[in-house]
């Protein structure tokens, strides 16, 4: 996969909640076409806030962008509604999955495809595509999403986002609360989409081990500020950096590093 132009860039982004609580105080980040970028940081570092800011979801949480610029596909993100951004190919899978609980798995996917405005017949191959990617969803398609397992819910949420045919898929902690094997399966599927269809991916993770293994580049947030940015391979080597900025060592949470 060749890497082309800048698809998304954040520059010096500051954000607040309720015009008071400062959550971001200088986030810079770029995603180029065809890239997988990991956004790393400990709990509370501002990953979710940054992702909501770039998908236009901050106002829905009573948050504001106080300074900086966010440009997607050459246009200012803050001027567009979330629906417009989705139509332009920027789709986010929210932290905590947020499936439509009382809808079946398949209805979740169908709602995800509504922005494409497809008819019943055209919808079929789109659904098939998701079921091929996540075969477990095919067996569960008539089950209410709220009754499926955590891994199946995550697949449903990702599949729902993919139904909108994104160019940039944004994921907020997809590994949260899932067994390592399930996480691996999900990342493998994402990697495949990236390789075979050139899907660009921005993934926020606390679980840096998994994210760094699959990402091309990574950016590290600490208390609302970008403190590191570079090729994932470089960060993989630097356990000291991981321990210092991410609050835990290789493989999962541990005691905070002595600073």
């Amino acid at each position: 996969m060749t890497i082309h132009e800048v698809l998304l860039s954040l520059d010096g982004v500051e954000a607040t909640y309720n015009h008071a609580i400062r959550a971001l105080s200088g986030v810079s980040l770029t995603v180029r076409t065809g890239e997988i970028v990991a956004l790393l940081g400990a709990n509370g570092a501002g990953k979710t806030t940054a992702l909501k800011a770039l998908s236009g979801l901050l106002p829905a949480e009573r948050g504001q962008i106080a300074a900086g610029t966010i440009v997607y596909d050459g246009g200012d993100v803050t001027r567009r509604s979330p629906a417009e951004l989705v139509r332009a190919g920027l789709v986010q899978v929210l932290e905590g999955r947020h499936c439509f609980r009382s809808l079946t798995v398949e209805d979740n996917l169908i709602v995800g495809g509504q922005v494409q405005g497809l008819g019943r017949a055209a919808l079929r191959p789109e659904l098939e595509r998701i079921y091929t990617l996540f075969p477990r969803l095919r067996d569960r398609r008539k089950t209410a999403a709220g009754l499926t397992s955590g891994g199946e819910q995550q697949m449903t949420a990702i599949g729902r986002a993919l139904m909108a045919r994104p160019r940039l898929l944004v994921l907020d902690e997809p590994s949260m609360g899932l067994a390592p094997l399930v996480v691996e399966g999900i990342f493998t599927a994402l990697k495949r989409l990236n390789r075979e269809e050139g899907l660009s991916i921005l993934v926020a993770e606390q679980n840096s081990t998994v994210a760094l293994r699959h990402a091309d580049r990574a950016s590290v947030l600490e208390t609302g500020r970008t403190v590191l940015d570079g090729p994932a391979a470089d960060l993989r080597e630097r356990d000291d950096i991981k321990a210092f900025y991410l609050g835990f060592g290789v493989g999962g949470p541990a005691a905070p590093a002595a600073a």
Binding site: L57, P82, R101, L103, D107, Q114, T148
Partner: protein, 295 residues
């Protein structure tokens, strides 16, 4: 004989409860999707009934009056959504509730400004004759109202199950943030919901208007819907139906069997007592906020 009398009271109560359900369903539609307890539902109901009656009194045929009223309700719903609720999005529920309280005065005022303040009779052409069914006397008007309510619920159910906007409605009701994230346009869905609530208000307004006369106090039937909502849950159409039936039955049974001991008038407040008692046991209502979740 005693048993037959009991059945008559019970059936009468259940059927009048359907009328409460009708009002409650209007609330549920809006609460489910936008979390707003729409106090203006009663004013909408009054506006619908008053508009319909005034139009027919001016010589319009019934079908034309219904269509025009529906159009007016759609317009009002869209206007409320755009002018009041959209600017207030993300405000705390109490703010939204106060806003709908304000809206209800404006809508009531507009209705009277437009159509005057006199009481109108509304004749739907249904004679309120007692029918005998299986040895039990039933009001034919009540039966008609129940049939209309049933048809409306069936139509709503089909709409939510099989249409694209219906699916969007259920998605928004489940999870607003996720709905935003997948690119649903909440504005469009909310407008559709207010339109649906307007239609429900029209149906309820016509039936209640035929029963009580079309007048200012018609908007007070919202107060009858509150115990229904407490019983059935604010976010469940099935709950609104069952809640309405329970309230109707409790009212009539209490009036007949308990009323004599407390000096009558019990029908006015027993539903609130029942709702209060219920609130203490099950705050989310019979069907409310049923979480589909596996922990």
């Amino acid at each position: 004989m005693e048993w037959q009398f009991f059945t008559e009271v019970l059936v009468g109560g259940l059927l009048s409860g359907v009328m409460y359900s009708l009002v409650a369903i209007g609330f549920v539609l809006i609460y489910k999707t936008s979390g707003v307890l729409n106090f203006a539902q009663g004013a909408l109901l009054l506006f619908a009934a008053l508009t319909f009656v005034s139009l027919t009194e001016r010589g319009l045929p019934v079908w034309a009056a219904i269509l025009l009223t529906l159009a007016a309700m759609t317009g009002i719903g869209a206007m409320i959504e755009r002018a009041v609720l959209r600017p207030l999005v993300n405000q705390p529920p109490i703010t939204l509730f106060m806003a709908t309280l304000g809206v209800s005065y404006v809508v009531e005022g507009a209705a009277q400004l437009l159509w005057g303040t006199q009481v109108h009779g509304l004749d739907l052409g249904i004679d309120d004759l007692p029918l005998e069914i299986g040895g039990v006397l039933v009001s034919s008007f009540d039966l008609f109202a129940a049939a209309v309510a049933g048809a409306m619920v069936a139509a709503l159910t089909l709409f939510f199950r099989y249409t694209r906007i219906g699916l969007g409605f259920r998605a928004v009701a489940d999870d607003q943030l996720a709905a935003l994230a997948v690119g649903l346009s909440l504005d469009r869905i909310w407008t559709a919901v207010w339109t649906a609530a307007g239609m429900v208000a029209l149906v309820a307004g016509l039936l209640w208007g035929a029963r009580l006369g079309v007048q200012f106090s018609l908007s007070l039937v919202v107060l009858k819907a509150l115990p229904v909502l407490v019983l059935g849950g604010f976010d469940s159409i099935a709950g609104a139906i069952v809640g309405g039936l329970i309230v109707g039955a409790v009212e009539k049974l209490a009036e007949v069997y308990v009323g004599p001991f407390v000096g009558g008038g019990i029908e006015g407040w027993i539903a609130y007592v029942a709702a209060l008692g219920f609130l203490l046991i099950r705050p989310s209502g019979l069907f409310g906020a049923k979480l589909v979740e596996r922990v």
